[in-house]
């Protein structure tokens, strides 16, 4: 699956996007975050304040307990500040 990072999540992780293949046990956004945090300090720092991290599956806002199912594109970003 393709992961996208925006704003300070992107800056902390140090990349705008990447392809990952998490283990089968990873079935929700929350589990995906926990798995990502094991990949290095840049991830654990980026996801430290979990309640401030928004997620989108295939460009739709979702909560952290949402199932990944056939997700192709998952994005992580801080609360939005446009307008």
């Amino acid at each position: 699956m393709k992961l996208l990072y925006f704003a300070w999540v992107r800056e902390k992780i140090g990349k705008t996007q990447e392809e990952v293949t998490p283990p089968d046990a990873v079935t929700t956004i929350s589990e995906l975050i926990t798995w990502l945090e094991t990949r290095g300090p840049e991830y654990s720092e980026a996801f430290q304040a979990k309640s401030s991290i928004n997620a989108a599956i295939d460009q739709t806002h979702v909560s952290h307990d949402t199932k990944l199912d056939q997700a192709r594109e998952i994005a992580f970003f801080p609360p939005v500040t446009g307008g």
């Binding site: 460009q59 739709t60 970003f77 500040t81 446009g82």
Partner: protein
């Protein structure tokens, strides 16, 4: 209905004319323009950078505009949101709504702005005159503003 996410500036008068054209059935035209302020939390800034999520932004704006047209009798609407580097005084966002009724035009414009502020995937980073560039914190008030449109 027109939705654009762009780095280029926009001309408010031109956008109104593009919607109204030669139509004679319109009664009310409301525009909202958001601009970059030179101060943030009491400290002067030199610039602002706007990042967005290409694809998701357009998809979301189309959905919310369709919702606005369902809820209010609109005769036309435009959303333009800029991204990239902006300076104090620059335009950030434009919403235009046309209706035969003034209350509908006002409410739809406010609804679209409340959505843009609290849901559309844009992020602002400010560069202050002194100190380091920082990402702008979300305002709780913007989320609250959106809830007033929730239906029973």
């Amino acid at each position: 209905m027109s939705i654009r996410v762009q780095t280029a500036d926009f001309d408010i008068g031109q956008e109104i004319e593009a919607l109204r054209q030669e139509r004679t059935d319109i009664g009310a035209i409301v525009t909202f323009t958001g601009t970059v302020r030179d101060m943030a939390k009491g400290a002067p800034i030199t610039s602002m950078s706007l990042e967005h999520y290409p694809g998701m932004t357009e998809k979301q704006l189309e959905e919310i505009m369709a919702q606005a047209h369902e809820r209010w009798p609109l005769q036309g609407s435009t959303i333009i949101h800029r991204h990239g580097e902006l300076r104090p005084g620059d335009n950030i966002v434009l919403v235009v709504t046309l209706s035969s009724h003034r209350q509908a035009a006002f409410e739809a414009a406010e609804f679209l702005m409340d959505f843009l502020k609290s849901k559309a995937p844009f992020w602002k980073k400010e560069t202050p005159v002194e100190g380091e560039a920082h990402w702008v914190d979300a305002r709780e008030g913007d989320k609250d503003a959106l809830t007033r449109w929730d239906k029973g």
